[in-house]
């Protein structure tokens, strides 16, 4: 088993008095695509920003290529940023409206490869634009002249220009039209394959996640509740929340859900003690109110945070 590229241990982030991330721990290995799924309040975007040190973590550690990202001094962390990049949800908002597209893509080059002269930089920018499917002549244009899908390609070009080892995609295709989503996902898969890159793909769209990830992590109100290989998770989900989530996804043609729909919405107030899902869980026990189940390994690589994970829970019990 190779060394993990990214090791997150006991990460905790608070927003005021509310815990946005509680005790999150996981590993990412080189070359894999891991999906992070969850709904609002799950903390998945906060996790991405915490890893990148865009928000302050209260506790925990993030080790990337052997460097503790949270505790090392800022200039040291900055040198490692070339290997850790992010693509955001809103393509237009992630590009500086006053900077030409070429300048935006070349900025990482100016920071990390200052030895390049202007002509060499222009060449790298042109190559990157072509690689993401845009014409190199567009480098002098401004973001507002492009469509959402094109802006996302530009954002990807900017993230990839330094060939990072880890790319975090935070809902990168969620605001794009259906007919464009496939283009961008295929682009990401191509780039990943060519560069042997690791991808952390954050999404609420389970159908998309199923198509491109090796492993899936499910979050609920700031905690990881299930980690499994993609096949295992979709074929045989264990955690009641995962099962409810999969049952709730509308399908074509429509299917009657085997698991009844869960009611209500997440209650952040329950994160203080016990399992935060207990108010919506059809299988909750009194134990669930007093004790927050730890993430434990069931079979090889399949982790679940549920007191009843060893039982076979059928929809009617």
């Amino acid at each position: 088993m190779n060394e993990p590229l990214l090791q997150v241990r006991n990460l905790r982030v608070d927003f005021g008095r509310q815990a946005a991330l509680r005790d999150v721990s996981f590993d990412l290995f080189s070359g894999e695509t891991v999906a992070l799924v969850g709904e609002s309040g799950s903390g998945k975007s906060t996790l991405a920003r915490a890893i990148l040190r865009l928000v302050l973590a209260k506790q925990g550690s993030v080790e990337f290529l052997g460097l503790d990202l949270l505790r090392s001094p800022a200039p040291v962390v900055r040198t490692q940023r070339r290997n850790l990049q992010i693509v955001f949800q809103d393509p237009l908002a992630s590009l500086n409206p006053r900077m030409s597209v070429g300048d935006a893509i070349s900025e990482p080059l100016k920071i990390f490869e200052p030895e390049l002269n202007a002509a060499e930089r222009r060449q790298r920018v042109a190559a990157m634009l072509e690689r993401v499917g845009l014409s190199a002549a567009l480098a002098s244009r401004y973001p507002h002249e492009f469509s959402g899908g094109q802006c996302q390609r530009i954002a990807i070009a900017r993230a990839m220009v330094l060939h990072p080892k880890l790319l975090i995609c935070d809902e990168a295709v969620s605001s794009l039209d259906v007919s464009i989503q496939g283009q961008i996902i295929n682009l990401l898969l191509d780039l990943q394959r060519d560069a042997g890159m690791t991808m952390l793909f954050i999404s609420h769209n389970l159908a998309v996640v199923r198509q491109l990830s090796h492993r899936v992590m499910v979050m609920y109100l700031g905690r990881l509740v299930e980690i499994a290989s993609c096949d295992s998770l979709f074929a045989a989900p264990v955690h009641p929340y995962t099962r409810a989530l999969l049952a709730a996804v509308p399908q074509i043609p429509p299917v009657a859900a085997a698991t009844p729909l869960i009611e209500g919405s997440p209650s952040p107030g329950l994160t203080a003690s016990g399992c935060a899902f207990r108010d919506r869980c059809p299988y909750a026990l009194p134990l669930c109110a007093s004790s927050d189940p730890p993430l434990t390994e069931l079979a090889g690589g399949h982790w679940v945070a549920c007191h009843r994970s060893h039982e076979t829970l059928n929809p009617l019990s």
Partner: protein, 319 residues
């Protein structure tokens, strides 16, 4: 049966610095009583502009054509005439529950206001009816909610309140514009379930606008597919998914990833991007991206032809 909503050759155009832009280009459709019609399309398809024009909310746009609701023409009608119908018999739910409710008024006030204006009830009676409607849309603790402000409710609950508001006067048609797009998957499933229940009970027609085919699949009897401001296909839902006739519909269905199909090394894609209002269009706007396009498609505009529940606007429809 007379149609609840009858739209004929509706066009909505805006002035743009490069000229006039057609957001909706000659759309005709019918929605019958208690029918649920899904309207799907991507950005730039004109699906939202179409129904904003129906509601008289098109702003600065120039609206041409005919919109008859329960037999009466809405376009060009006087403001009092439109206001009698809007909010009572013809209602709309918008996409963003965060901004659809007035932030500084309590929920009970906003709901009661509809009844006081349209049904002539007193404020006390109106609050009663509002409370019962909140129960019908399965909001927990309905009486408490009446006294709360919008920011105290979650997105899913706000959308239920919007639904309640739209049903208060027993409308003949509810237009729902992307009602679940801003909501989480599990909440979305609840709202879809609620809409399904509402349809059964009150016999209200529903126009469900969405970019998400799967959401529409669970609710609609009939589906209209829009592209570049025009309707390109109109079919019974089951037929549309089983055997789409317009190439755009077929390609779009291929692009929707599914939970149950095989896992693919590459996702199916549709080259190019959907045209935005203002883009130059060929006679058939889908021609540049269509795998079946021929010369005729670039020069001759395909018209929507066929029976009332099976129409397609294509020179070479799939069969």
């Amino acid at each position: 049966m007379p149609a609840t909503l009858c739209i004929d050759e509706l066009s909505v155009s805006f002035a743009h610095r490069t000229g006039t832009v057609e957001a909706v280009d000659g759309v005709s459709l019918r929605i019958g009583p208690a029918e649920c019609v899904g309207v799907v399309g991507e950005s730039g398809s004109g699906k939202t502009q179409l129904f904003l024009a129906v509601m008289g909310l098109a702003g600065n746009a120039r609206v041409r054509g005919s919109v008859r609701f329960e037999g009466k023409e809405l376009l060009g009608a006087t403001a009092p005439a439109i206001n009698r119908v809007r909010g009572s018999k013809l209602t709309m739910i918008f996409q963003d529950p965060m901004t659809s409710l007035t932030p500084h008024l309590r929920i009970g006030t906003q709901l009661a206001e509809v009844l006081v204006c349209h049904s002539g009830l007193s404020w006390a009676e109106a609050r009663d009816v509002a409370g019962r409607m909140l129960e019908r849309v399965r909001i927990p603790e309905p009486q408490r909610r009446l006294g709360q402000y919008p920011h105290e409710l979650s997105g899913g609950m706000r959308q239920r309140v919007m639904l309640a508001m739209s049903l208060l006067c027993g409308p003949a048609l509810v237009i729902a514009d992307e009602p679940t797009t801003a909501l989480d998957v599990t909440i979305q499933a609840q709202i879809i379930e609620l809409l399904r229940a509402m349809r059964g009970e009150a016999g209200t027609a529903l126009a469900l606008i969405s970019h998400d085919l799967a959401v529409v699949a669970g609710l609609a009897d009939r589906i209209l597919v829009m592209y570049a401001g025009r309707i390109v296909e109109n079919a019974v839902a089951a037929e549309l998914f089983r055997q789409p006739r317009h190439p755009y519909t077929a390609e779009l269905l291929k692009c929707v990833p599914s939970l149950s199909g095989p896992r693919l090394a590459r996702l199916p894609t549709l080259a190019g991007q959907p045209p935005q209002p203002g883009d130059a269009l060929q006679a058939c706007p889908f021609a540049p991206r269509c795998p079946r396009a021929a010369d005729r498609c670039r020069t001759e505009r395909p018209l929507l032809t066929g029976a009332s529940t099976s129409q397609v606007a294509c020179h070479f429809p799939l069969s």
